[in-house]
Amino acid sequence: MVIFLSRLINGISLGSVYAIIALGYTMVYGIAKMLNFAHGDVIMVGAYVCFFAVANYSLPPLVGVLLAMVVCTVLGIVIERLAYKPLRQAPSLAVLITAIGVSYFLQNGAQLLWGSNNKMFPVFLNGDALSLMDGELRVSVATVVNVVACVAIMLVLSWFTGKTKMGKAMRACSEDKGAAQLMGINVDTTISMTFAIGSALAAVAGVLYMSSYPILVPTTGSMPGIKAFTAAVFGGIGSIPGALLGGLLLGVIEIFAGGYISTQLQNAIVFAVLIVVLLVKPSGLLGKQIREKV
């Protein structure tokens, strides 16, 4: 029982990290209808900014996070303007390939700027929030912060896209860009705004990811980016609560698969579950069934 519970906690801890990244992914996909594969690398940039702010300039961690958010927001807008905007009318495959290109550009740029050496992220969320059963069950502060941050971001994003004027404009653009423009919505500004928010979320995700897994290299963002994308698809891409659910489930399945079956087959099992879910429910767990209009 203790082992089961501790695995569950580990799974939620890992899943909350996936979820927080998946939220940014799904937000950009939901509005701009494009898979921003560079999202994982924006996370990496955010982590580096926070790393330098805290480790080299000894700024308080919160200032580091805010700084990372500002830098990533600007980066997100610049990427969108330079790489994606010229392709607004291009087929989605072209945009996808460009996103992969941007991802490589950011990775190699980071390596050029900051070197390829491993950096240990300063841990400022350390210690246990809860310790049960004589220390057999531990819930770390990082896990609690991750889960709380996930839920908070999910609620704020849902409220933002559902209730605010900008959010409504975003949903309008997502449904039909042409019609939205006719209604007086500035499509370009709206999509830029989406990227700005998505990238700011990436900065937060980067810092939280690093608090749990503190080795920082220029390729840090690529694997969690892919896992988070999987989580987003799992939960139903485009759905904000789906990203949270998908991320948490993915983390729990991954830890259980490794713990109860085999660490060799860990990833194979995770993806097998994904395939089964998509076979039964092609739009993901909470995804909306979209009918093609003829």
């Binding site: 695995r7 480790a55 050496n117």
Partner: protein, 406 residues
């Protein structure tokens, strides 16, 4: 008409593309032009990951070799000079072969091989076909050399490539030496192993460790794995080792994953003895790493940047002055490679105008008969298998520094 303009434009664009494709990604370093005696320089090439996730190893090797080249050229103004060129392979087998071909086009006469194992397996086949002498600093897989039986099946999967030699330990030696060391020193009664099963280096060491551990009767209670894709979360592996009551954990892996393991074990209150291999070298150099987490970690490694001998001190100082970081084992291995090749070239009386094939014949017989003293070991010898014989040093981390164990 429109079509023709389009075709012309395309042709022009593609030609430009072809031209710009050349010359990128190379770090070429010319030897100071030899004066007076008219002796040309011998061309030594190397391939390694200068970009990408494994860039730390490729850059270290390229820099170590660069320092050796500079020292040799400065010390022998009238002797044989060296030209060195490193090409990038981004730790990719296909790119590594392309890089090798680029070096061949440049006129490379001696090849420093690939820095990492997976590309090394590919380039060693090419160099064997072309009969170019191959001495790798750090591609430690037995598949690079060939001719070694798989410890699990007992069959030889890859035939011996007779012109391929290694400066680093071949993986199985590290695994069996570790098992022997743990037994001899009586370091643990229950042993857990965590290894990376998508990496030839890690699995190679594990397989030989496993075979030797069975032979010696070591009590291995937990074996778990991870891959490149799952190398962030080790809670499953560590819980498994902890629940099995392991008091020593063997970690045949590179230090980046090990650093996370130490951090996570500390967070879950698990404090066994840790035992690593040469890939653990570098853990103290991770920027911002809390070295107290690595306190008491034991490892077998051929190179120690804190060693007190003159040669190591000079090398570390030059490296730090030039690149402002502490050299790791890859840099030392590549440095030794260039010196070993230079020594063999001189002994065999090789001149810069000889062909790569002739040089290869002479170097092969020279390497199997010579004894070399370098940063990574005294009295190194090579036999026909291509593997180096040198003794690993047992090190333990105390107060944030490596200390000899014996």
């Amino acid at each position: 008409m429109k079509k023709r303009i389009f075709a012309l434009t395309m042709a022009a664009v593609m030609t430009v593309g072809l031209l710009s494709g050349c010359g990128g990604g190379a770090t070429e370093t010319k030897a100071p032009s030899p004066e007076g005696n008219g002796a040309a320089a011998i061309k030594i090439g190397g391939v390694g990951p200068l970009t990408g996730g494994a860039a730390i190893y490729g850059n270290a090797a390229a820099r170590g070799a660069e320092i050796a080249k500079d020292e040799i050229n400065a010390a022998n103004p009238d002797g044989l000079q060296i030209e060195l060129r490193y090409e990038d392979d981004a730790h990719d087998a296909e790119k590594s072969v392309n890089a090798y071909n680029t070096l061949k086009g440049w006129g490379m006469q001696v090849f420093l091989g690939s820095v990492t194992s997976t590309p090394g397996v590919a380039t060693s086949v090419e160099a064997n076909n072309d009969h170019v002498f191959y001495l790798t600093p750090s591609a430690s897989s037995t598949d690079v050399l060939g001719g070694v039986a798989n410890p699990l099946t007992g069959t030889v999967d890859i035939q011996r490539k007779d012109n391929v030699f290694q400066m680093c330990f071949v993986d199985p030696n590290q695994g069996s030496a570790s098992a022997q060391y743990i037994t001899d020193q009586n370091l643990g009664s229950k042993i857990a192993v965590i290894y990376k099963n998508d990496d030839v280096y890690s699995t190679g060491v594990y397989n030989s460790f496993d075979a030797k551990a069975k032979e010696l009767g070591l009590n291995v209670v937990s074996v778990t794995t991870f891959t490149e894709d799952t190398k962030t979360d080790f809670s499953v592996q560590l819980s498994d080792a902890k629940n099995a009551g392991a008091d020593l954990v063997f970690l045949p892996m590179y230090y980046d994953a090990a650093a996370l393991i130490f951090t996570q074990a500390n967070a879950m209150g698990y404090a066994p003895k840790w035992f690593g291999i040469d890939g653990m070298d570098g853990i103290l150099g991770v920027e911002g790493f809390d070295t107290s987490l690595a306190e008491g970690v034991m490892l077998l490694t051929p190179f120690n940047a804190d060693a007190e001998d003159e040669a190591t001190k000079n090398f570390v100082k030059t490296y730090q002055d030039k690149y402002s970081e502490v050299p790791n084992q890859f840099a030392a291995d590549a440095y030794d490679c260039v010196y070993a090749i230079y020594e063999a070239l001189n002994k065999a009386g090789i001149t810069a105008d000889m062909s790569a094939g002739d040089i290869c014949d002479k170097l092969m017989s020279e390497f199997t008969s010579m004894t070399f003293n370098g940063l990574t070991g005294e009295g190194m010898t090579w036999d026909d298998t291509g593997a180096v014989t040198k003794s690993p040093k047992g090190m333990v981390i105390q107060n944030g520094a490596y200390v000899g164990m014996d």
